[in-house]
Amino acid sequence: MAISLAESLHLGILDILTRKVRSAVTVIGIVLGVMCIMVVLAIVNGMNKTTMEWMSQRGGLSKVEVRPNWGYDFSKGGDPSLSLREIQLIRELVPQATAFNAQIPLPESEMQLGDSGYLCSVLGVYPDMLKVEEWKLAKGRFINDFDITNHNNVVVLGSTVARELFNSRDPLGRYVSWGGHRFMVVGVLGERYLKNQGTGDTFGENGLEYLNQRAFLPLSTVISRINPKLRISSLELQAASPEKAKEMRKQVEDIVLNLKQGKALFRVDSAQEQMDMMRKNTMIFTSIFILIAVISLLVGGIVIMNIMLASVKERTREIGVRIAVGARRRDIVVQFLVQTVLITALGGVIGILLGYAILDLVGGYLKLEVAASVRMIWTALLVSIGVGLLFGIMPAVRAGKLDPIEALREE
């Protein structure tokens, strides 16, 4: 003849409604804790999602990059550049690379078509650039090995460059001039797009627009016809998998170090390792906030325990009456425990709603990518119920242990 759970819930709701203010105060710690967890997890999820997207847009996790090491003190001598021959040597020593690209950025200069011109960055590259950057062609073809061998005067335009110079006309087969040289347009690249994060209206809404404003020449043409003194300062390789990229990074680093007599003139990074690093950093960030959330949940729990203990004391006579009319220990324990859990669960729900409101603001005004998931909601709810059980059990058991005779005597 125990009272049912539904009955206990009913009693609990009644108790909470009877003591609205107290219940509200009781629950603040839980609300803050749950809110904190929600917001942090959603922001971290959003950040990871953005990073992943960015990484895959920039050639995925199998990429290995060689770039000048700007942390190196170049005044001690040394120049962060590689000759065409050194590049060729690396290419031969790392045959397992599925793609290989070196590039030379040229000074910005106007690209001209008849009377119209467009200021664009021009780079000398290898044919594999397309693969390394996972870039698609919109029309025509890209620079090929034949162009490299023959130092052909051909150019491939970024989508913005093509649009600015040719509008809707077909650029293929037409000649443009740049830096006093004429180049035949053989291809146009597809548009690169990534929604910009943050408030940066200054950068436009496309975070990759700078890529669309580029034009590409064969690397050999750049060195032989434009400026024989040019050196190569960056290199990209693609491995078969993100795991293989880690090994390849080490190998390429050793080669470059040997070429430069042990001077660390270059940095060699693998996208996977950069990603791991970023993950580690967000993990630290996440852990700190989760710790804060846990502490606020614990404090919230202790506050609840305290208030429930006071409530048991205050309601001693009521407990006595309930026992006198037939409540068993278990009924009393369940009544107080259910009430505590109801309060914390309610706090959890409020915390989730507030968390959503904050995420909405963060996502709306700061234009930060946030990703709240259904699983997070369940987690938050379960955590708040857990706090209720953990901190509610002691006051509830104390209520159940009351001696009815003493309890009825209580004023």
Binding site: V321, R322, V325, G326
Partner: protein
């Protein structure tokens, strides 16, 4: 008539620190079904202890206690809870209504712990409250009622589950003589309907209504004789 309460050599000891105090010292008591009994005695005589044991709020240290043919002196706490729920109705001097519940919910309380359905609870509670003349106050909180009305709610709560005995501890102690008289009238009426009524009291007026007065002194029953 059947014995509803039978105690044999009932003993109750309390440990107050290292001192052992004997509150009941061999109480033999028999109460027949349908009797109206008053238990009287000075403070410290053991009458409260006796009432707690009769009411199954406490267990004796020694001896036997049979309630309605069931040996309750050996029962565990859960069994005692169900005995309190189904066989005993309590009426207290200070009413002991739950202040945040309306009087209907107060009267439904024993039915809830008996596991009755919501509908059945409400039906029975309304019926009982009607019989004590409080049908028009179902949604009132105890604080909105007079002392006499509160005690009528408490009586309704005590009898709503059809207990074998109605146990009242100074039921008129907090009431003026008018309200006290009304409450006594209800007890008399319940007795005349066949209920077993046991009242613990100091009040001679109350005791005079009883069919029998049991006097208790130093943990023993002095004599049990017919009143009047």
């Amino acid at each position: 008539m059947a014995e509803i309460i039978a105690t044999k050599n009932l003993i109750k000891d309390y440990n107050l620190g290292k001192v052992k105090v004997r509150a009941l010292n061999g109480v033999d008591l028999t109460i027949e079904a349908g009797e109206f009994v008053a238990i009287m005695g000075p403070s410290g005589s053991g009458k409260s202890t006796l009432m707690h044991i009769i009411g199954c709020l406490d267990s004796p240290t020694g001896g036997e206690y049979q309630l309605d043919g069931v040996l309750v002196s050996q029962m565990d706490k859960d069994d005692l809870a169900s005995i309190r729920n189904s066989k005993i109705g309590f009426v207290f001097q200070s009413f002991n209504l739950l202040p945040h519940l309306n009087i209907l919910k107060n009267v439904e309380l024993p039915l809830m712990y008996a596991g009755e359905s919501l509908r059945e609870r409400s039906r029975k509670a309304r019926e009982i409250l009607a019989s004590v003349g409080l049908s028009d106050r179902l949604r009132h909180k105890p604080s909105e009622l007079s002392g006499g009305q509160r005690q009528r709610v408490a009586i309704a709560r005590a009898i709503v589950n059809n207990p074998a005995i109605l146990l009242a501890d100074e039921p008129t102690g907090n009431l003026d003589s008018q309200a006290g008289g009304d409450i006594l009238e209800i007890f008399t009426q319940l007795h005349s309907q066949g209920n077993t009524v046991i009242i613990v009291t100091h009040d001679k007026a109350v005791a005079q209504r009883a069919g029998r007065i049991i006097r208790i002194m130093d943990g023993r029953i002095e004599d049990g004789h017919l009143a009047g």
